[in-house]
Symmetry: C2
Subunit: 349 residues, 2 copies
């Protein structure tokens, strides 16, 4: 018997049968211990736990999956243009999944595709996914979420709005970040303020715009509709919007671009027009991409704690999947912060 111990894990890995034999119990009892079934006699539990440790036993996830009719795979289904967002989220999820026995399977897709639903359904069914994490904009697709509900596939949605029950939701409160941006401009004396919106297909676009405009209003500032222009969260749309805003007879002295990509486009537009930042234009972005701290001037931007969002989402998912002790009272909300850099200065009236 001790032979097995000495040989360590070099030999064929121990199975539930080996543990049962050594602990002098049935494999069913070992199974109960593995799955933390509470109704196991303490002494027996200890015997089993020791045997598990001595044999270096780790339950085979494939066998469990087959018997459970459900895998130990969590899917990250995304369609996000920002690599930094994806990787940070992914690493946050992995932080929380570490040691849980679950693995993360990534599944990028196209949120505009007509086959999106079939694609995700096939993925969920084939792998019998234990759960799915949905960042925006997929998290805002009610058809997709409905599909998961029908399939009884646990999920957690990440969005700027509380679109679902708390156990299935991480709310990012983007409006708070937009409010900080507005406050910043207002306090520094800016009055002619421009806004570059995101695409209406993202809920965050509305949320950010509303938070920004409402807060300016509290400071007695209204944004001229002509200075409230549409963008699509891309660099090019920011460039274009920047040119439109800066070509106006009375151009804004400060612009809030609702993501960093567009903010960089605005920066480029300003430069193409011979303006100097931040002297001629104050600028705030949203996302705090790595490049925000690399461009010149360094871009002031609103940062979402993306890694933490991933951790929260994964913890909630673990709870829903019944693998956690504290299923209920978990934090559901996260708040963005304004990261001050060099692209904002007081208005020189």
């Amino acid at each position: 018997m001790t032979k097995d111990v000495d040989r360590g894990e070099i030999e064929k890995p121990a199975t539930i049968n080996d543990v049962a034999l050594r602990a002098q119990v049935s494999k069913k009892t070992v199974s109960r211990v593995i799955n933390r079934v509470p109704t196991v006699d303490e002494k027996i539990r200890d015997r089993v736990t020791n045997a598990i440790r001595e044999l270096g036993f780790r339950p085979n996830p494939q066998a469990r999956s087959l018997a459970f009719r459900r895998s130990f795979l969590v899917g990250l289904v995304y369609d996000n243009p920002s690599p930094a967002y994806v990787v940070n989220l992914l690493e946050g999820i992995l932080d929380a999944l570490a040691g849980s026995g679950f693995e993360l399977v990534v599944h990028p897709c196209d949120h505009q595709s007509t086959t999106l639903l079939d694609n995700v359904e096939e993925f969920v069914e084939r792998q019998r996914l234990a759960g799915v994490i949905l960042p925006p904009p997929l998290s805002e697709n009610e058809m997709l979420v409905g599909l998961l509900r029908v399939k009884a596939c646990p999920y957690v949605r990440i969005s700027s709005l509380a679109l679902d029950e708390p156990p299935a939701m991480v709310v990012t409160n983007d409006h708070l970040g937009a409010e900080e941006a507005a406050q910043q401009f207002a306090q520094l004396g800016h009055r002619r303020i421009g806004l570059v919106r995101g695409p209406p297909s993202f809920r965050s676009a509305d949320v950010r715009a509303k938070g920004f405009l409402d807060t300016l209003l509290k400071h007695g500032i209204t944004v001229d509709p002509a200075r409230d222009v549409a963008g699509s969260y891309t660099f090019e749309s920011g460039l274009d919007a920047g040119h439109r805003l800066l070509a106006m007879p009375a151009p804004p002295s400060a612009i809030f671009a609702m993501n960093d990509e567009m903010a960089l486009g605005v920066m480029q537009a300003a430069r193409e027009r011979g303006l100097e930042l931040p002297r001629d234009l104050s600028l705030i972005g949203f996302d705090d991409l790595p490049m925000a701290a690399r461009v010149w001037p360094n871009l002031t931007s609103v940062r979402l704690p993306i890694r933490e969002m991933g951790q929260l989402a994964a913890r909630k998912l673990l709870a829903t999947m019944g693998n956690q002790q504290s299923p209920d009272q978990q934090q559901s909300e996260v708040r963005p912060v304004l990261v001050m850099r060099d692209s904002v200065v007081p208005w020189e009236g």
Copy 2:
């Protein structure tokens, strides 16, 4: 029987038994068809294929994994600081894996950690990984690769050098990109040329430096050792190196930073010293990160076809795992290209 067809896949999914029943063969024969065993009578094969289609049967990966003693999961084990690199590689891998029945499991780790080997071993064993893809710098860790070999876990390495047999290797030929950079500088008349190296722990650092210096030499240009400085592939190290180079009595008129992060650091240093780019300094980076096209001036940079590298790596892995028709003659090499932008100008002698 047709009932099953009409109900589609809403009901409990069809199993190999259902297919066997409908095709009037044993389940073993169905198994042979699934696994493309050639020695199946053509008529029988057709019967089975039809039954599979009619029932919408898809083999259960968990059951196959258990019986095969090997999962259908491919691991991407990485420790790369660039989110864009990771996401592009990942999507390339997924391109090639699509429809193969394999899924991708991501496993970030710390290449400096003392527990790296145990960590990866545990991951590979637990999930009985079908294969692993290793980008740099992990691909250059011979201990890690040795471990995978011992475990008989198929792998593909991505590196700037051919460190392994072609079926297990995607070679990126970084020296070619560095050569292009050197050529560019030489042709534009630069003679006082600076170089910011990567850390010696990355093979690419040597490869890029050698390609660059050798090519300059062919043009009769030697780099003064004082202008050949060390960096560590980080922004900060680039900033620091930039200051050192630009503080020299005869500063370089052109600098090749061996990745974009450092190139941006050099840009920052130049600006802090009151220099104007590209007038006072020409600059080339490596990687072509998204921000290379977002900074001002747009950064000329060497681009590796990362997504394609992911595709190649995954195809090779599929071949090794015995899931491919053309196991041998596959492309193994990839070549970088110099993407011309605005950060390089002729030397004004």
